[in-house]
C-alpha cells in the first residue's frame, strides 16, 4: 500500500511540469453546460498528502489551501513554499497516531488509554507501543476482553473527569460495544440535560484488509453514523492521522476515529511543530475542474491511482478526502460541486446504507441545482467480505472502476 502511495505522489508531482496546454478545454471529453475557467499559465496544482500544497493562488482555491494546513502554531496565511521547506520528520501512520496520542497524554494527565493489549503488548497495530512503560499501567490500561463493558467504563470515566481513548482492536469488535456507544456515548450529554460531557475518543482499525475474512473486514462507520451526539472522522495520511487524533482528544464531544488496517505503514514527512486537524473539515487532495470525487480513508489511494490514469486521458478530477464522516463538510464539498457540477463518491462501505448513501442524499439536497449529472456512488458490494483474494478484490472499488465511472460521468 505504501508503494502505491509513493507512486501516486510521484506521478502527480511529475505532472506539475507538463505543459498547461495539454489541459486545453477543447481537448476535454466532457461537454459542460457551464464553461470551465481557463487556467492561464497555471503550474499544475499539486496537493501532496503531506499536507503542503503548491498552488497558483487562485482565489477560489485559497480556502482549500487553508483547509489543509490547519496548524495551531503556524500562521494561516503562510506561503506554501515556507511550510514545505520546514524539515519535519518522517514517520509511518501508526507512529503518527502514537505521536499524537503521546503528545496529548503529556499535555493533559487526564488522557488515558483503554483497550485490549494496548499496554504491555503495545497495541496490536503498535499504535500504543511504549506508552505503558512511560505512563504506567493505569494510564494505558490493558482490559479484559469485554468491549461493551470497557467502553462503558470509558464513558463513565469520561463523565467523571477523565479523557479516555478507547481502542477497539478491530473496529468490528466494537459491534459488541454498540449498546454503550449508542445509548450512552452519544446520548448521555443530551439526556442529562447537558450536565455531563463525554470527551471520549473511540478508535481502531477497520475496513477491508488483506484476506482477513468477513468479520475482520467490517465498515462500522455505516452502522454508527445515525447515532446522534457523536462525531466520526477517518484518517488517511500520517499528517491527518496525528492531527485528527489530537483534535479528537481535545474535543469535548465523543469522537470515533476510524483508521484503516492497510494504511498503518504509510510513510510521510510531517511537521515538527504542534498542529491539529479540524474535526469538521474535509481535505482537498487534488484540486481539479471536471469532476468532484469524494472519498475517505483507503479509497483515497484508489482514487489517486485512478486520477493518474484520468489525467493521462485528459481529465482533471478534483479529489476531496471528506475526512469528517459525521458531520459532512458541506462547504468544501459544496464549493467543489459548484465548480465541477459532477460528483462521484468512492467509498468502502457497502452499497446499502453506507456513508456514500448519506453523502449522496446530502449533496442532492443541498446542491441539486448545481449538478449536471446524477451523483454516482461507487461502494463495496453488499457481501460479507470473502476470504479468497480474487473475490475480495471484487468486493471493493478498484481504480479501473473509478476511471470508468468518471468517463461515464463526463460524457
Amino acid at each position: 500500500m505504501a508503494t502505491s502511495f509513493h507512486g501516486v505522489g510521484a506521478a502527480v508531482a511529475a505532472l506539475s511540469s507538463s505543459p498547461s496546454n495539454s489541459f486545453d478545454s477543447k481537448k476535454l471529453l466532457c461537454s459542460p453546460r457551464r464553461s470551465f475557467p481557463v487556467r492561464k499559465g497555471a503550474s499544475f496544482v499539486v496537493a501532496r498528502s503531506d499536507g503542503s500544497v503548491n498552488f497558483d493562488l487562485n482565489p477560489k482555491a485559497r480556502r482549500a489551501q487553508q483547509l489543509i494546513v490547519n496548524a495551531v502554531a503556524t500562521k494561516s496565511d503562510s506561503s506554501p513554499a515556507s511550510s514545505s521547506s520546514k524539515p519535519g520528520h518522517e514517520l509511518l501512520l501508526f507512529e503518527a497516531l502514537r505521536e499524537g496520542l503521546e503528545e496529548e497524554m503529556d499535555r493533559d494527565p487526564r488522557v488515558c488509554v483503554m483497550g485490549e493489549d494496548v499496554g504491555h503488548y503495545g497495541g496490536s497495530y503498535k499504535v500504543t507501543r511504549g506508552l505503558a512503560e512511560k505512563f504506567g499501567d493505569l494510564r494505558v490500561l490493558d482490559t479484559p476482553i469485554a468491549e461493551n463493558s470497557f467502553t462503558g467504563m470509558g464513558i463513565g470515566a469520561a463523565m467523571t473527569g477523565l479523557r479516555p481513548v478507547v481502542e477497539g482492536m478491530n473496529m468490528g469488535f466494537l459491534l459488541l460495544a454498540f449498546n454503550q456507544i449508542s445509548n450512552n456515548c452519544g446520548m448521555l450529554h443530551y439526556t442529562s440535560g447537558g450536565q455531563f460531557t463525554i470527551p471520549i475518543v473511540i478508535r481502531g482499525p477497520g475496513g477491508v484488509g488483506r484476506q482477513l475474512g468477513a468479520e475482520h473486514s467490517q465498515r462500522l462507520e455505516s452502522y454508527f453514523q445515525s447515532i446522534p451526539g457523536i462525531q466520526m472522522v477517518a484518517c488517511s495520511t500520517p499528517y491527518n492521522a496525528k492531527g485528527l487524533m489530537k483534535a479528537a482528544i481535545r474535543s469535548e464531544n465523543p469522537v470515533i476515529l476510524f483508521e484503516h488496517v492497510l494504511l498503518y505503514n504509510l510513510k510521510e514527512r510531517i511537521p515538527d511543530e504542534d498542529y491539529i486537524c479540524n474535526l469538521e473539515e474535509a481535505e482537498m487532495v487534488r484540486p481539479g475542474e471536471h469532476v468532484t470525487i469524494l472519498t475517505y480513508s483507503r479509497m483515497r489511494y484508489h482514487v489517486m491511482q485512478a486520477a493518474k490514469t484520468l489525467v493521462n486521458k485528459g481529465y482533471d478530477p478534483e479529489v476531496i478526502d471528506i475526512r469528517s464522516l459525521k458531520p459532512f463538510d458541506l462547504h468544501t464539498i459544496g464549493n467543489s460541486v459548484k465548480k465541477t457540477h459532477r460528483v462521484l463518491i468512492v467509498e468502502e462501505c457497502m452499497r446499502t446504507g453506507g456513508i456514500g448513501a448519506s453523502l449522496t442524499a446530502a449533496v442532492t439536497e443541498n446542491f441539486h441545482d448545481y449538478l449536471d449529472a446524477p451523483i454516482m456512488c461507487l461502494s463495496s458490494q453488499d457481501v460479507p467480505t470473502p476470504y479468497a483474494g480474487t473475490l475480495e478484490e471484487w468486493t471493493v472499488v478498484q481504480p479501473a472502476q473509478i476511471v470508468t465511472a468518471v468517463e461515464q460521468l463526463c460524457k
Partner: protein, 432 residues
C-alpha cells in the same frame, strides 16, 4: 416465597462483626457456609419454623447483620445502631421516597406524566440504607427505577417531579424523563433504561476515583461509587464483565443488587440457574453479602462496611439486598403474576413501618415527631407537584441544545460557517 432465611448470609468470612476486632480485617476470601438456604417458590409461600428466625421476629428489635455469628449473639443488650438524629434522617428519607412515588402514580393516572414510570415502593430501605452513608462527591448509578435514588442522593423533589412532568426546570431539563435522572451536582450518574447499562458507567466512575488517587496524585480522593441494579440484571453479561474488572483492579465500587424477585413478569427463580446472587461475588474475588433489604438498619450496617472497604482501597463488594416492590414493574404493569400471599408477606415487612416501630420502641422518637415528619414530607411533595405544574415546557429552541457539548459537532454548512454560529439554527433541523 420462603421465609427460611436468616437475617444475613455471607459467602466470605464476615469482616464486619465483632467490634473488638474491628480494626483487623479478615481476609475477604475465607468462606463461611451460609447458615440456611435461600429457598423460594413461585407458587407457595412456605413459612419456616426456624426457631432462630422466630426469635428474631418475636423480639421485634431490628438486629444487626452480625446476628448470625455466635459471638455477637452473646451480646444480648445490643447497643442502638443509630442515634436519634440518624434515625429521623432515615425515616424522613424513606417517607419522602414513599410519598413521592405514590404521588407519581397519582400524577400518571391524571395524565401529568407519560411513558414508562417505575416505582420504588417497598424498596426504600435499600436506597436510604446505602445512599445516606455517602458524601456528595460519591457517585450513584441507578436503573430506570431511579426516582428514589435521586431523592436520597439529594436531588430536590421539585427537580425530579419537574423532570417527570417533562418541564424545562427538571433536573435534566425535561430531556431525560423518568428513566434518566442525572445530577452533576449530586453525582447521580443516571438513570438508564436498558438493564446492566449503568454498571460499566459506574465501573468507570470508580476507575476515575482510583485514577485520581494514583495517577493524578489527589491523595485524599476516596470517592466511592454505588451501582444499583436488579435481579434480572444479574444474568446479564455487563454485570459479570464489570464484577471481573472491578475486582481485578480493586475499584472503589459497591455493586448493590436490589433483588425484588421479579423482572417484570419473570421470576428470578425461573431465570437464574443459581438464584443466590451473593455467591457470584467470590467467583470474581470479592465478598458477596446477602442482607434483608426490607430492614434499613441491617442494610445500613452492611453498607457501612462495604463502603468503608471501598474507601480504604480494598476493592469492590457485591451486596444482595432481598427486597420487594409493592407495585407492579411499572405503572403499565397489571401485576397479575405475583402471588397475593407473597405480596402480603412483604407488605407486612414494610421498611417504613419497621423503622417507625424501632424508633418508638427504643425511645428514639415519639409518634408525634414522626407524624410531623410525615406531614412535612407531604408538603414537600405537594410543593414539588405545584412547582412542576407551574413550570414551563421546553421551547422549540431547546431541541438542539445539548446534543453536543461542543456544538461545532453539527458541522459546517454550505455557506462556510459552522451551523451553530447561525442564530436561526435552533429553529431548523439538526441534519448534517
Amino acid at each position: 416465597m420462603s421465609t427460611a432465611f436468616s437475617s444475613a448470609k455471607f459467602s466470605t468470612q464476615p469482616f464486619l462483626l465483632n467490634p473488638t476486632s474491628a480494626a483487623s480485617h479478615e481476609s475477604p476470601l475465607l468462606f463461611a457456609k451460609p447458615t440456611s438456604q435461600f429457598l423460594g417458590s413461585t407458587r407457595k409461600l412456605r413459612l419456616s419454623s426456624s426457631s432462630k428466625l422466630n426469635l428474631s421476629r418475636r423480639s421485634g428489635t431490628v438486629v444487626a447483620v452480625s446476628d448470625v455469628v455466635k459471638q455477637k449473639k452473646s451480646k444480648s443488650t445490643p447497643s442502638l445502631l443509630i442515634t436519634k438524629e440518624e434515625g429521623l434522617e432515615l425515616y424522613e428519607d424513606m417517607v419522602l421516597g414513599r410519598a413521592f412515588e405514590d404521588m407519581c402514580a397519582q400524577m400518571y393516572y391524571r395524565g401529568k406524566m407519560f411513558g414508562f414510570v417505575h416505582l420504588y415502593n417497598g424498596q426504600e430501605a435499600v436506597s436510604t440504607g446505602f445512599i445516606k452513608l455517602l458524601k456528595q462527591q460519591d457517585s450513584v448509578v441507578s436503573t430506570y427505577r431511579d426516582h428514589v435514588h435521586a431523592l436520597s442522593k439529594g436531588v430536590p423533589a421539585r427537580a425530579v417531579m419537574s423532570e417527570l412532568f417533562g418541564k424545562t426546570t427538571g433536573c435534566c431539563r425535561g430531556q431525560g424523563g423518568s428513566m434518566h435522572m442525572f445530577s452533576r451536582e449530586h453525582n447521580l450518574l443516571g438513570g438508564f433504561a436498558f438493564i446492566g447499562e449503568g454498571i460499566p458507567v459506574a465501573t468507570g466512575a470508580a476507575f476515575t476515583s482510583k485514577y485520581k488517587r494514583e495517577v493524578l496524585k489527589e491523595a485524599d480522593c476516596d470517592h466511592v461509587t454505588l451501582a444499583f441494579f436488579g435481579d434480572g440484571t444479574c444474568n446479564n453479561g455487563q454485570f459479570f464483565e464489570c464484577l471481573n474488572m472491578a475486582a481485578l483492579w480493586k475499584l472503589p465500587i459497591v455493586f448493590v443488587v436490589e433483588n425484588n424477585l421479579w423482572a417484570i413478569g419473570m421470576s428470578h427463580l425461573r431465570a437464574t440457574s443459581d438464584p443466590q446472587i451473593y455467591k457470584k461475588g467470590p467467583a470474581f474475588g470479592m465478598p458477596g453479602i446477602h442482607v434483608d433489604g426490607m430492614d434499613v438498619l441491617k442494610v445500613r450496617q452492611v453498607a457501612k462496611e462495604a463502603i468503608g472497604r471501598a474507601r480504604r482501597g480494598e476493592g469492590p463488594t457485591l451486596v444482595e439486598c432481598e427486597t420487594y416492590r409493592f407495585r407492579g414493574h411499572s405503572l403499565a404493569d397489571p401485576d397479575e403474576l405475583r402471588d397475593p400471599a407473597e405480596k402480603a408477606h412483604y407488605a407486612a415487612r414494610d421498611p417504613i413501618t419497621a423503622l417507625k416501630k424501632y424508633l418508638i420502641e427504643n425511645n428514639l422518637a415519639g409518634e408525634a415527631e414522626l407524624k410531623a415528619i410525615d406531614k412535612k414530607i407531604d408538603e414537600v411533595v405537594e410543593d414539588a407537584v405545584e412547582f412542576a405544574d407551574d413550570s414551563p415546557v421546553p421551547p422549540r429552541s431547546q431541541l438542539l441544545e445539548n446534543v453536543f457539548a461542543d456544538p461545532k459537532g453539527f458541522g459546517i454548512g454550505p455557506d462556510g460557517r459552522y451551523r451553530c454560529e447561525d442564530p436561526k439554527f435552533t429553529e431548523g433541523t439538526a441534519h448534517v
